[in-house]
C-alpha cells in the first residue's frame, strides 16, 4: 500500500486538538479518570474500600490539625452548630429543652415516666466487659484521622470516592454508548430509507420528545421497580437516543445521494454495507460528539437518580449515593464526603465538557487548518 498523502478527517482533527492546550489538559484529566476506573474495576486498587479502617466520621488529617482540636475529638462544637434558626417556630421550646439538658444533672432531669429500662443491667454488664477488654477490640486498631476523612462506618472517603466514581462513570459511558448506538441505528435507517420507515421513526421521535426526558426517566424508574446498575443504564440509554437520532438522520439524508454512495451502489454493495461501511465512517464524528455530550449528561443524571434512591441498589456506592449520605452529614459538620464526591465529579465533568467543546471544534470540517 502507498503512504497516504492527504490527511483524513481524523488526522486533521487530532492535529487541531493537539494544538489546543486546554483540550490536551482536559484529555489528560479524562484519561487519568478512566485509568483509575480501570484499575479499580479490575480490583488492583481500592478493592478494600469497604474495610472499616477508621473511627466513624474520622476527620481529614490536615483539617483536624488545622482546627487544633486533636485527633480523638472530631467535632465538639455542637453548640455552635445547634444555633437558633430565626425562622424556627419551635425555637423557644428547643432553647428551654436544651437548657434543661445542659444542667449538671442533665441525665436525671430527663423524665422516664416511671418506665425502667429492662435492658439496663445487661447494657451495664456489656459496657463493663467492653471497658475491661480495653480498646484492643475491633475498634481499637482504627485510625483517628485519614487523608480525606471517613464516613459513618469508618470507610476511607478517598477510596469510596474512587469506587463511587467507577459506578457513576461506567453507568454514564455504557448508557451513552447504548443511546448513541440506538440513535445511530434508527437515524441511519430513517435517513437512508426515507419514506415509510422515516415517517414511522419520526413518529417515534415525536412521541419520545413530547415527554420531557426527566419525566420519562422517572416514569420508567417507577415501572421497573428493581434497582440495579443495569436498570439505570437501560433507563438512560433507552430514553436518551433522540438527540443522536435527529443529527445522524440529517447526516444520512445528506450523504445518501453523494457520489461515493452511488459508486458503492454501482459496484453492487448491499444496503447494510452502504449504510455502515461506506456512509457511517463519514458521519461518525457526529456520533462521537454526541457520545461525549451524553456521557456528561448521564453521569449527572445517574447522580441525581441514585441520590433519590431510584438508582444504584443498597451496597453499591456511587457519587449520587455518597451525596445522599453527605446531605445529612453536613448538618453535623462533616463536610468531607460531600466535598470529595462533589469535587471528583466537578473535575471530571469540567474536563469532559472542555474536551467535548474542543472535539466539536476540531471535527468541524468547515474549519480549515
Amino acid at each position: 500500500m502507498t503512504a497516504q498523502h492527504s490527511a483524513g478527517l481524523w488526522q486533521l482533527a487530532w492535529r487541531r486538538l493537539r494544538a489546543d492546550r486546554w483540550a490536551m489538559a482536559a484529555l489528560a484529566v479524562v484519561l487519568a479518570f478512566l485509568l483509575t476506573l480501570l484499575l479499580s474495576a479490575s480490583g488492583l486498587i481500592v478493592a478494600d474500600w469497604e474495610q472499616e479502617v477508621a473511627v466513624s466520621f474520622a476527620p481529614p488529617g490536615w483539617a483536624a490539625a488545622a482546627a487544633g482540636s486533636g485527633a480523638g475529638a472530631p467535632l465538639n462544637d455542637t453548640d455552635a452548630l445547634l444555633r437558633d434558626n430565626p425562622f424556627d417556630p419551635l425555637a423557644d421550646d428547643l432553647r428551654a429543652l436544651r437548657s434543661e439538658l445542659g444542667r449538671p444533672d442533665g441525665k436525671a432531669s430527663l423524665p422516664m415516666y416511671g418506665v425502667t429500662d429492662p435492658l439496663a443491667d445487661d447494657l451495664a454488664q456489656l459496657r463493663a466487659a467492653h471497658g475491661a477488654g480495653g480498646t484492643t477490640g475491633a475498634t481499637g486498631a482504627r485510625l483517628a484521622t485519614l487523608p480525606f476523612g471517613a464516613d459513618k462506618w469508618g470507610h476511607d472517603v478517598l477510596k469510596k470516592t474512587v469506587k463511587g466514581g467507577e459506578t457513576s462513570v461506567v453507568v454514564g459511558l455504557v448508557a451513552a454508548l447504548l443511546a448513541v448506538a440506538l440513535g445511530t441505528l434508527l437515524g441511519a435507517l430513517a435517513g437512508y430509507w426515507g419514506g415509510v420507515v422515516d415517517a414511522l421513526l419520526n413518529g417515534l421521535y415525536n412521541i419520545f420528545t413530547a415527554i420531557p426526558s426527566v419525566l420519562m426517566i422517572l416514569a420508567v424508574a417507577a415501572v421497573l421497580q428493581q434497582k440495579g446498575v443495569l436498570t439505570i443504564v437501560l433507563i438512560l440509554g433507552l430514553t436518551g437516543w433522540t438527540g443522536p437520532y435527529r443529527l445522524i438522520r440529517a447526516e444520512y439524508l445528506k450523504h445518501k445521494g453523494r457520489e461515493y454512495v452511488l459508486a458503492a451502489d454501482a459496484i453492487g454493495a448491499s444496503h447494510w454495507r452502504k449504510m455502515f461501511v461506506h456512509i457511517f465512517p463519514n458521519v461518525s464524528h457526529v456520533a462521537l460528539v454526541q457520545l461525549s455530550i451524553l456521557v456528561v449528561g448521564f453521569i449527572k443524571a445517574e447522580v441525581v437518580l441514585s441520590f433519590l434512591g431510584f438508582g444504584v441498589p443498597v451496597g453499591v456506592v456511587s457519587w449520587g449515593s455518597m451525596l445522599n449520605e453527605a446531605q445529612n452529614e453536613l448538618i453535623l459538620g462533616r463536610w468531607w464526603q460531600l466535598t470529595a464526591a462533589a469535587l471528583a465529579m466537578a473535575v471530571l465533568v469540567t474536563a469532559f465538557s472542555l474536551l467535548t467543546d474542543a472535539l466539536r471544534d476540531a471535527l468541524d470540517p468547515k474549519v480549515k487548518f
Partner: protein
C-alpha cells in the same frame, strides 16, 4: 393561519396516541400487576381479585386500553392509589406552588441571561470573555444537588437568611419567604448554561451586515446591542425559553423536594416512590399535551416576531 393551526392540531393526534400507547405498554404491561402492590403484605387471593376487578386489570388488554383512553378523553384519571384523592384534584392543587417558583425563576433567568450575554458578547475574545466561559463550564459541572445542599445549609441553616423549608397559605408569603431561596438556587444553577447559550445566539448576530451598518451610521454601542442585536437574537432566545417551559415544570423536582414545596415535581417523585401509577400517568399525559401546545405556540410567535418565517 387558522388552517395552519387546525392542521398542526390534527398532526398532534397521532403523536398523542403514541404517547398514550407508550404509557399503556409501560404501566399496564411492563409495570406488572398493581393488585399485589395495593393489597399490601397480608393479602389473600380474594382481596387481590377484588382490587383487580376494581382497577379493571382483570380485563383483556384492549378493554384496559379503552379505559385509559376514556380517562384521557374525560380528563378524569380516577383516584390516587396511595392517598385515594382524585388525581385531577392533586394536579390542580400542586400546580400553584410549582408556578410560584417557576414563573419568577424563568423571568429572572431570561432577563439576567440576556443582560449578561450582551455584556459578555461586547467584549468577545477578551480575557474576561474566556474566564467567564470557563467559569460557566465549571459551574455547569457541579451537580445541582451540591448547589442545593450547600446553599440550603449555608444560607438557610447556618446564616438563617431564609427558612430551611416550608410552604404557607398566601401567595405573597410563599413568594417572598419560602420561594426566594429555591429561586436563588435555581438561578445559580441555570445561569451558566443559559449565559453560554445566549452568548452564542448574540454572537451569531453581531457578525451580520446590519450590525456593521448600524455602527457605520454612528449608533452607539449600547443602542446597537440592546436594540438591533437583541431584537434579532430574541427569536432563538424565545424558542429556548418556550421549549424549556414544560420540562421545567418537572425539572424543578429537586428544589421542590428539598424545600418541601408541594408542587408537581415533588408529586412525581412521591408517586414514583409509592408506585402511584395513576398520578404519574396523568401528569405525563398533561405534560406531553402542554409540550405539544407550547411548540405550536412557539411557531406562531415565531411568525409574529420574524416576518421572514412563513408557516407552511
Amino acid at each position: 393561519m387558522l388552517a395552519y393551526i387546525v392542521r398542526r392540531l390534527a398532526q398532534m393526534l397521532p403523536t398523542m396516541l403514541g404517547v398514550v400507547l407508550l404509557l399503556f405498554v409501560l404501566f399496564n404491561w411492563v409495570g406488572g400487576d398493581p393488585a399485589y402492590l395495593l393489597a399490601g403484605k397480608m393479602a389473600n387471593a380474594e382481596s387481590i381479585a377484588n382490587i383487580r376487578r376494581q382497577l379493571g386489570v382483570d380485563q383483556p388488554y384492549w378493554v384496559q386500553l379503552g379505559i385509559f383512553l376514556r380517562q384521557i378523553a374525560t380528563l378524569d384519571f380516577g383516584l390516587s392509589w396511595a392517598t385515594g384523592e382524585p388525581v385531577g384534584q392533586i394536579i390542580a392543587t400542586r400546580l400553584g406552588p410549582s408556578l410560584t417558583v417557576l414563573v419568577p425563576l424563568t423571568l429572572l433567568e431570561t432577563a439576567l441571561g440576556i443582560a449578561l450575554a450582551l455584556a459578555i458578547a461586547s467584549v468577545r475574545g477578551s480575557l474576561t470573555d474566556r474566564l467567564v466561559m470557563v467559569a460557566c463550564t465549571v459551574g455547569m459541572s457541579v451537580s445541582i444537588l451540591v448547589y442545593i445542599i450547600v446553599f440550603q445549609y449555608q444560607l438557610a441553616y447556618r446564616f438563617g437568611l431564609f427558612p430551611v423549608q416550608g410552604w404557607g397559605e398566601h401567595l405573597g408569603e410563599n413568594l417572598l419567604r419560602y420561594a426566594s431561596l429555591p429561586i436563588l438556587i435555581g438561578l445559580a444553577v441555570s445561569i451558566a448554561p443559559t449565559l453560554r447559550l445566549y452568548r452564542s445566539f448574540v454572537l451569531d448576530e453581531v457578525g451580520q451586515d446590519y450590525v456593521r451598518t448600524a455602527r457605520a451610521k454612528g449608533l452607539g454601542e449600547a443602542r446597537v446591542m440592546w436594540l438591533h442585536v437583541l431584537r434579532n437574537a430574541a427569536i432563538p432566545i424565545l424558542t429556548h425559553v418556550m421549549a424549556s417551559l414544560p420540562s421545567l415544570l418537572i425539572g424543578a423536582f429537586l428544589l421542590e423536594r428539598f424545600f418541601g414545596i408541594p408542587g408537581i415535581g415533588r408529586e412525581v417523585i412521591l408517586a414514583v416512590e409509592r408506585s402511584d401509577f395513576p398520578v404519574i400517568k396523568a401528569i405525563t399525559v398533561y405534560v406531553a399535551l402542554a409540550t405539544m401546545l407550547v411548540n405550536l405556540l412557539t411557531d406562531l410567535l415565531y411568525q409574529a416576531l420574524d416576518p421572514r418565517v412563513r408557516l407552511s
